[in-house]
């Protein structure tokens, strides 16, 4: 308890309350621009924190992280391109809502859900870190594989029209993820002698190509003379969330936040997977699954509460075990070290008061995020008024700049074009892009851990069913696919009747 109050005292300095909004604003901007991620925002700002005291420095970087995870939803909703991979699930309902003229409502729900998810996550970090960290350590290769399969089971519910096309999409994604060097055998796959391909296709690069470039190409049929909708400026902020909608979103936000906390605390996963799983759970357990994907506010609530729900909990394994939960926390871990704090089992004992200041500060970060977001949401919503021919040029420029900046290489720009063209033709053939993304994200997690598990079990597949956590995930995955299939067939029968 002493540490708690010492931490509170360290937190309550005016400088901290000045730096948090700065970090949040930066985070929201980098998160919203496709290709720029909160990872990059944190890296760019680490040198700025050298002169600050550790609490202030880490709070600024955490604000960028949380702001970036929320900021990515803005572009997902407005231009059908997730700002970061964590916001890909927000596309399902966010963009359809914007098309229906409910951009303001979708953006407000994204902000509200992100804040609640973030606060619950901060609470889990503050009160449950040691317990969650112990569970995290139980995750071996078999558990990771089961988790990846659980993630892949989402394909069933996100490929509405054709499960077959969904599976092909996932295979294409898995194929893309196998390009590069295989860490277990040390051999290269599908690189065709090109040294640049040896490091594989970067996730964020694939994301820009898949969503942004293909979206611009799809809109190439847009004719400003006939297709332009005159958007009435006064109508934009009229689509406010009703009390009934807030009530309806309580369950999705609860499921999303808890999923975010659990998945976020598992190293090697992150907010993107959490959002997909939460979306899937909310959709499968909903009384009206058919409205999902058509602009259902509960879908936005589920995915946005989940990705921000992961923000605080990804720090749990990092702070308690020294194991970063995702890319951003790996960079944050570097920042902790720069400020003289070595994350790991000893950190709580050695630097408890700073750590408590940071954990308490995470609540402040989320509250500020809500305040800043509410002021600016009305402005973002006006982006829908920009003529598409102009918006497409701006988006394309940001995408190319974003792709180039990922590793200062034109090579990545070529990759987004190739992936974009591929995605365009797939979309013309009615393929969904999300199964492809799931394949890219989960393919390596599944493959590497499948092979590692088999090494550990001397080649026996029983390892996946004899370990309780692994078996549990596999059963939930199976259950969710079966439930979905049952509901689908019932809906079809109803439609026929």
């Amino acid at each position: 308890m002493d540490l708690f109050f010492a931490g509170l005292e360290t937190l309550l300095q005016w400088q901290n309350f000045l730096i948090i909004p700065v970090g949040l604003a930066l985070g929201i901007v980098v998160g919203a621009i496709p290709g720029l991620t909160s990872d990059l925002g944190i890296i760019l700002c680490i040198p700025l924190t050298y002169g600050m005291d550790p609490t202030m420095a880490i709070l600024m970087l955490l604000a960028i992280y949380c702001g970036g995870t929320y900021g990515g939803s803005i572009t997902a909703i407005l231009i059908n391109t997730p700002g970061t991979s964590a916001n890909a699930a927000t596309l399902f309902d966010g963009y359809p809502m914007a098309k229906k003229g409910e951009a303001y409502k979708a953006l407000s729900m994204a902000l509200f859900a992100s804040t609640i998810g973030g606060l619950i996550s901060a609470g889990s970090l503050l009160f449950l870190a040691p317990q969650i960290a112990k569970i995290t350590l139980l995750f071996g290769p078999a558990e990771y594989l089961a988790l990846a399969i659980f993630g892949l089971s989402v394909i069933a519910s996100v490929s509405n029209k054709s499960i077959f096309k969904g599976l092909i999409g996932a295979c294409i994604g898995i194929f893309i993820s196998t390009i590069g060097m295989d860490n277990i055998s040390g051999t290269t796959r599908f690189v065709f002698g090109k040294i640049n391909l040896m490091s594989g296709i970067n996730l964020i690069i694939a994301l820009i190509g898949l969503f942004a470039i293909s979206e611009i190409m799809m809109k190439s049929q847009y004719n400003p003379r006939t297709d332009r909708k005159i958007v009435d400026a006064s109508s934009i902020t009229k689509s406010k969330i009703t009390r009934e909608e807030y009530k309806r979103c309580r369950k999705p936000i609860g499921i999303g936040s808890l999923t975010g906390v659990i998945i976020g605390a598992t190293p090697g996963t992150g907010g993107g997977l959490a959002a997909f799983i939460a979306y899937n759970q909310v959709k499968t357990t909903s009384k009206h699954p058919e409205t999902f994907g058509e602009g259902e506010i509960e879908g936005v609530a589920a995915s946005e509460s989940a990705n921000n729900g992961a923000c605080g909990s990804t720090m749990i394994p990092m702070l308690t075990l020294g194991v970063p939960g995702d890319g951003a926390t790996a960079i944050l871990m570097g920042a902790f070290m720069i400020h003289g704090m070595v994350p790991g089992p000893m950190l709580f004992r050695e630097q408890g008061n700073i750590l408590y200041a940071i954990m308490l500060g995470l609540f402040v970060v989320n509250i500020f995020m809500y305040l800043i977001g509410s002021v600016f949401t009305r402005f973002y919503a006006h982006i829908t008024r920009i003529p598409y021919e102009l918006l497409a040029c701006i988006v394309l420029t940001f995408c190319i700049a974003g792709a180039y900046s990922t590793s200062n290489s034109l090579y990545d720009v070529y990759i987004i074009i190739v992936v974009g063209i591929l995605a365009y033709f797939l979309r013309r053939m009615d393929f969904q892009l999300v199964p492809i993304l799931l394949g890219i994200v989960l393919g390596p997690l599944a493959e590497m851990n499948f092979r590692r598990a088999l090494i550990l079990s001397d080649g026996s597949l029983s390892i996946f069913v004899t370990r309780p956590i692994s078996l549990g995930f596999l059963l939930i995955a199976l259950g969710s696919v079966l439930l979905f299939a049952w509901r689908n067939s019932r809906a079809k029968k109803k439609a026929l009747a």
């Binding site: 071996g140 295989d182 290269t188 040896m198 490091s199 020294g322 070290m337 720069i338 089992p345 034109l410």
Partner: protein, 338 residues
């Protein structure tokens, strides 16, 4: 028909726009500088930003050190210094980028020993040690082999042997796949010990140590500061190090070498700064002096000690000699593993 033709041409136009936008940036970016730069006299050097090409990922040991060094660019070099991560291919992608960059002194690379002593045995690389000149050392990497006594009961080499004698195959976590230095060295250790063992490659030092802490593997390899806290808190135990004279680790004490324990397996990992060998000597001197000034800065020294690391100011000759020795040793080790 008319509308589908129109669509086709619109797609074509969009593509042309994409390609033209990317083509605009191609020339200056491809080699990092304009041709005039390389003809400028060394006495004006440096006049613009210097880039450190980093083969390893963000937030890792070498990256963190390089970024800290880069922050002294304005102070000691008069220009900004930035770090660019070009990861993948066990460092070969960064090597290719460094050798493609202009030899005007504005691009440095962080390299290690295995890029020359180990990687060529596993991949077709298009570089040799003659393509680069080491400027100064960065750090020595001290690999330690660890066990988890609470899970496997192994705390010493003898207990490791007993464990294997009971008919079990030892599963050990490495920080990378074949061709990686940690993979090679820990595999050599088990060959030399003559124990049945199998490698489980992970994606990095943290992952490997985490697998050990969770009891998923019996043994793991790591370098400080990754394992330090676990050993301090008594969760993990050190079996030995590949550094021939043993090492002293703050808060843990002395870790004996395998050589001292009668096993012929030695390795001193190292990272160092280098430039293309065709860079002008005067410019190499400017860059080396910059790095020396940073190493001498008390603030930098404080930073390194807080990180549990030491800067290593090895000279060009020392580095080349170590690479040469390592290359010979690796030939033996690789034959042993094949």
């Amino acid at each position: 028909m008319k509308s589908s033709m129109k669509r086709f041409f619109t797609v074509l136009l969009a593509l042309a726009l994409l390609i033209s936008v990317t083509a605009c940036g191609a020339k200056p970016a491809a080699n990092g500088s304009t041709p005039e730069d390389s003809e400028k006299p060394a006495d004006g050097f440096p006049e613009k930003q210097v880039t450190i090409i980093m083969p390893w990922s963000l937030g890792g040991g070498p990256d963190t050190i390089a970024r800290q060094i880069a922050s002294y660019g304005e102070k000691y070099l008069g220009v900004p210094v930035i770090v660019e991560n070009k990861t993948g291919g066990a460092g070969t992608i960064a090597m290719a980028a460094a050798l493609q960059a202009a030899d005007d002194g504005y691009s440095m690379i962080v390299a290690n020993g295995p890029l020359f002593s180990l990687t060529p045995s596993f991949q077709n690389v298009n570089y040799t040690i003659d393509d680069i000149t080491p400027l100064i050392g960065m750090r020595e990497v001290e690999f330690v082999v660890l066990s988890n006594p609470g899970k496997s009961g192994i705390e010493t080499l003898d207990q490791l042997k007993e464990y294997a004698a009971s008919g079990k195959t030892i599963k050990y976590a490495t920080t990378g796949g074949p061709g990686n230095d940690s993979y090679t060295m820990i595999s050599v250790l088990f060959k030399r010990l003559g124990l049945p063992a199998e490698a489980v490659p992970y994606d990095g030092g943290q992952d490997a140590i985490n697998a050990l802490a969770g009891g998923h593997v019996d043994i793991a390899i790591g370098s400080p500061p990754v394992y330090r806290d676990y050993v301090k808190s008594g969760e993990l135990a050190c079996l030995g190090t590949f550094i021939p004279d043993g090492i002293e680790v703050d808060g843990i004490g002395r870790i004996p070498s395998f050589k001292e324990q009668g096993i012929d397996a030695e390795f001193i990992g190292m990272d160092y700064f280098a430039v293309r060998s065709s860079v002008d000597d005067a410019k190499k001197k400017v860059l080396t002096e910059f790095l020396q000034k940073v190493y001498a800065d008390p603030e930098f020294q404080k930073f390194m000690s807080e990180m549990g690391m030491k800067a290593w100011d090895g000279t060009e000759d020392e580095i080349l000699q170590k690479i040469d020795e390592q290359s010979k040793a690796m030939e033996d080790y690789i034959t042993l593993l094949k």
